[in-house]
Symmetry: C2
Subunit: 369 residues, 2 copies
């Protein structure tokens, strides 16, 4: 994949914002272990790395499999290829050159395991005071810059086009797996690096499983089909769900669909800078309650989207996070009735000064195929 | 995906072996957090779960998205749907019904984060003494039973067939991404649930990146092309690499290929029950040293394979793990020359009483296309 950093200056600006965060939290350094955070800060996309940012300098630790790739992708920090393991190399760097001064090193307690932390304690010794700082990089990532928004708009457009192109394939007889295969192939045909998560195609009673994996089950007439798909383009994810019906649907199904679509629109209408994530979730729930379907909506209304398919913030019940301009979110209420079927409609939006702006363009009309 | 447990009795047998492990380690219970371990022990394939095994009973904690799926997949343990979060629910279970007795609960320090452990400590209080027990379930999983071996043989056969079917597509002009898309589509056509990792197609100088991701770069005449692909079938992974040349190769390339193939065969020949993983790695390195290519072999010789694409044991330098009958391993030496290209040949094998038995059947002859 091409590196996402257009220039060393972009990497510098992200690192500078991180250093500002550190100075506010009275930390001298931060050890970043989560790979998408490392990708964001210095451009490296390999699968094995640690990034240590101390004062004005940064070091990416990776192993010899990634020597050439790191040289090509990384900017703003130096690269150290380690043979002793990432944790040992980072510990060594923290131990050396301290001159007796104790360093306060921030880390995310949800991104280092107990075992890794044990090894870091043992390796860095008394030279380091470890400071828990969850979401340091995630909070920067939540607000997208112009280049990121362009990539995400393109990723959302791509998945809308994929859906349009595979519509003729949604017919009785084709298996969920083959359909998901065709969707993922179409993504690559249109230039995506791949799916941003395992594509969901769930038909009939299986559509009531909010996170069903595609099976060899063939689609049948008079079934609901939930299609949840997303593509990675230039490193950024899209995530879109549409639900269709094979044949002529019953009034019950059509009423369910109308309820979900209305709930989605209510959530979108509630989005603007300054409101809480929880209030957006509540707006969707209020509509479904009016239809007597509140108990069938078994997940949260949406989530942040970016380098990862699930990012900050979460549009969940009671979430206090304040929405800000430049956040990219999914809006995806759904209802699930065991033994009957499920309906979910999901779009990607960006929070602008005026409210939610749709990135996904595929029609939300109820399709009876 | 269909659950992998053929019957409740299979789940019981795995749980019983785990309980034996616990009694040897003087633990009363184990908290399992790694999803493939949970899948192995009780059949659940959802993306959010904790499994607590205490004495004769087990509880799977998951959330409301998975109510129906858990009911269908899980055997051998009871299911508890939680609204308060997995960690909170597990803590509550550990706190209640203890009658003052302190429980020793095993966990893997590399599979719980510092933050999760903090929450478990706070939630379970003085009722629990936490015992570090890395690889408790992984060591069971390393030895495959007959049903698992059948699935893995089929998964390896499937990927061999995929490679055969896409051979005509490997030609100048097609992009790495399109080729990887075609490979993954062919997997699903042949019945796989999907790729077991992001398919690698790396051509020309990019073939020297051992873990390159496919790019939009078109294949060109006179280039090496590394194709590393694996499929998931009935829950189990395959993993196979072939390297081909577009056109007529130079003596240097043919010599490199011969060296890698000879190294792979030497590693396979070294495999039998009772030898160390490190001795297999050494056998491959010895051959490459003879060709003056030792420094170009920048990763380990192979790894365990099963429900995950990387499992125990690792066939790495100096690894002391003793190979046992029923282990399934990849054997995949490679050489990588920056600016020139790379060659890797990888097969899946099972350790039998007689030695390594190939699961992958695709030809290892050097193909000039």
């Amino acid at each position: 994949m091409a590196a996402q950093l257009k220039s060393a200056s972009q990497s510098r600006s992200r690192l500078d914002r991180l250093r500002l965060f550190l100075s506010h939290h009275r930390a001298d350094a931060i050890l970043v272990s989560h790979l998408p955070n490392i990708h964001y800060l210095c451009g490296f996309t390999g699968s094995s790395a640690l990034l240590l940012i101390e004062g004005s300098r940064g070091t990416l630790f990776t192993d010899s499999r990634y020597t050439f790739q790191a040289r090509k992708e990384v900017s703003g920090v130096r690269v150290q290829i380690t043979k002793t393991g990432l944790i040992a190399a980072a510990s060594e760097a923290l131990r050396s050159g301290r001159k007796g001064r104790r360093t306060a090193v921030a880390y995310s307690p949800f991104q280092l395991t107990v075992g890794q932390m044990d090894a870091l304690h043992a390796g860095s010794g008394k030279h380091v005071r470890w400071v828990k700082a969850p979401n340091a990089v995630e909070s920067l990532r939540a607000i997208k810059d112009a280049g990121e928004l362009t990539a995400m708009k393109d990723a959302a457009e791509l998945i809308s086009n994929v859906f349009g192109s595979i519509l003729p394939l949604i017919r009785p007889g084709v298996s969920e797996l083959m359909l998901s295969g065709a969707i993922e192939f179409a993504m690559k045909e249109l230039g995506a690096t791949g799916p941003s998560f395992e594509t969901i195609v769930a038909s009939g009673p299986r559509s009531a499983w909010a996170h069903a994996r595609p099976s060899s089950k063939p689609l049948r007439k008079n079934e609901l089909v939930v299609l949840d798909q997303g593509a990675i383009l230039r490193g950024y994810c899209s995530d879109m769900t549409r639900t269709v019906f094979l044949g002529r649907s019953s009034p019950r199904v059509r009423r369910m669909y109308a309820a979900v679509l209305e709930a989605q629109q209510a959530a979108k209408d509630a989005i603007r800078p300054g409101v809480t994530a929880g209030s957006v979730d509540a707006a969707a729930r209020r509509v479904l309650k009016g239809y007597g379907l509140a108990s069938k909506f078994t997940h949260s209304t949406g989530h942040g989207l970016g380098l990862e398919v699930h990012e900050m913030p979460r549009l969940g019940r009671g979430e206090a996070t304040i929405l800000q301009q430049g956040m990219v979110l999914t809006v995806e209420p759904g209802v699930y009735v065991e033994g009957f079927g499920g309906i979910r409609i999901e779009d990607d939006i960006v929070v602008t000064s005026k409210g939610a702006q749709d990135l996904t363009s595929a029609s939300r009309e109820f399709l009876e195929l």
